[in-house]
């Protein structure tokens, strides 16, 4: 007699093996109190948060808190409706206008999450006879979105513009639109797309468009925080930008912007836009205020990059293997999932929260302790994080317990 969960039996056995031993479940962390952007109480312990994607630390921005409180009082706790029914308030439209101004694009559509923005747009933008060429390391929401489309889905090697070129060349004679899908910064390792090269490849072919998911690069890159296209100077060549309010913008929600005149049609075809409730007014109000803070947040970006260097260099110097260059994501590689879990438990017990990321959610089958920086981290906090990493890793025998390095002459 087969139970309905029997098909997960292999996965359950894997989970049990990986999570064997004493200690907290890395996938069921509970924050009892959030003290600030960088600290929380987890299991009665004051914990430094080093894995929240809260890159600019705007979750407690006083201006956004006030706007959210005001909207809450004026418009209530929720819209109880879809954007196409009763769920579009003045705030939702103002937020879309603010997004257009922020990105210098003609049109913006706000979704209830970043996941839904990708799922909605990617499932509808391309149709039968069209092609989607996606970077192999794209986020799950992109995978789910393209799977739901009627287009043919082709993956190219991660960050390999030459491989993309080769695959587009094979399609050159075929009618149908081609959509290239990349991310500005990839979430697991924090590596950037080779956007200039990808744009150059795109321009070689007709009917070929580019969509970039700027979830982790918005607010982080570019003088005004418009992400990798701004940093690279190719904003006009990116046809569609998808993003989220749940990282640098410090709240929740997703969006897509574009300057195509008929872009608004997506409101009538994206099921992820039509058949779900819209964002609550307080969220919309805080997102709008925080977009302004992101735009003027040059000093925050400077602090964020300074913090990225401190943590990256600190963890590298103690002998840990890092899978990333200096970026707001610092990915520490553990030898296998079991060691990664033990490492993660050691850190949480010592008061540091990072993300545990295991295959198949990671590239190259890596088992990762994924850290992300916040502009609000102090140097002292980051020194403490490095010291705790060092202590846990030494106790586990992952790094040599050596005396402080002295600069050689």
């Amino acid at each position: 007699m087969a139970g309905i969960f029997d098909r997960f039996s292999n996965l359950m056995a894997q989970r049990d093996a990986i999570l064997a031993g004493d200690g907290a479940d890395p996938f069921q962390v509970k924050m009892d109190q959030v003290i600030s952007q960088t600290e929380a109480i987890i299991g009665n312990r004051r914990t430094i948060l080093c894995g929240t994607n809260n890159y600019l630390g705007l979750t407690f921005a006083p201006e956004a808190l006030k706007a959210a409180h005001d909207a809450l009082d004026a418009f209530g706790t929720g819209t109880t409706g879809s954007r196409v029914a009763n769920g579009t308030y003045a705030g939702h439209k103002e937020l879309e206008t603010t997004l257009c101004e922020f990105f210098n694009k003609d049109h913006a559509i706000v979704f209830s999450t970043g996941f839904l923005a990708n799922a909605g747009v990617l499932s509808t933008l391309m149709g039968p006879g069209d092609y989607i060429l996606m970077d192999a390391d794209c986020h799950a929401s992109i995978y789910d979105g393209v799977r739901a489309s009627q287009a043919e889905i082709i993956r190219f090697k991660h960050n390999d513009a030459a491989d993309l070129d080769k695959r587009l060349a094979r399609l050159a004679d075929k009618p149908g639109n081609k959509l290239i899908v990349i991310e500005g910064i990839y979430s697991m390792l924090g590596d950037k797309a080779p956007m200039a090269e990808i744009v150059a490849v795109k321009k070689k072919y007709t009917n070929t468009y580019l969509l970039s998911d700027e979830a982790h690069s918005m607010g982080v890159l570019g003088r005004y925080g418009r992400g990798l296209p701004e940093e690279v100077g190719c904003e006009d060549d990116v046809d569609f930008i998808v993003g989220t309010f749940s990282k640098s913008v410090g709240t929740v929600g997703g969006f897509v912007v574009s300057s195509y005149p008929d872009f608004g049609m997506l409101r009538l075809v994206c099921r992820a836009y039509i058949f779900t409730a819209s964002l609550p007014p307080s969220v919309v109000a805080s997102a709008r205020v925080n977009l302004g803070l992101v735009k003027s947040g040059g000093a925050l970006r400077t602090r964020l990059m300074r913090n990225a260097k401190i943590l990256h260099n600190g963890l590298s110097e103690i002998g840990l293997k890092l899978a990333s260059d200096v970026s707001p994501v610092v990915a520490v590689v553990a030898p296998d999932p079991q060691v990664a879990v033990a490492f993660w438990r050691g850190l949480i017990e010592a008061g540091v929260y990072v993300n545990l990321a295991l295959p198949p959610a990671t590239p190259y089958g890596y088992s990762l302790l994924r850290c992300s920086l916040c502009a609000a981290h102090t140097e002292e906090q980051l020194r403490e994080v490095v010291a705790i990493f060092k202590d846990v890793a030494s106790k586990m025998g992952l790094i040599e317990h050596k005396a402080r390095r002295v600069a050689a002459g």
């Binding site: 192999a136 393209v146 799977r147 043919e152 889905i153 082709i154 993956r155 090697k157 080769k166 695959r167 094979r170 295959p359 198949p360 089958g365």
Partner: protein
Amino acid sequence: MTVNGEPSSETVTALHELLTPFNKTGVDLKPGTRFSEDLNFDSLVVMEFVATVEDRFDISVPMNMLPDITTIHELAVAVEKIVKADRG
């Protein structure tokens, strides 16, 4: 190339060569060998293996085709179909 819907021995031999390093269960590779059940491929291994097939034959295997490819025979037929469509 394909004769009466049967893939050529060159294609099958090439696939066997590519599969060898992925064959962790050590089963004999036959036309009916299943990637999931017999070779224990999970989604990640599938992606890695498909990438080597794409490199070897200089083709793109669309993700949409993958659910219908469960055996070595089906993969060989699919590869030849794509090669034919690409080269005309």
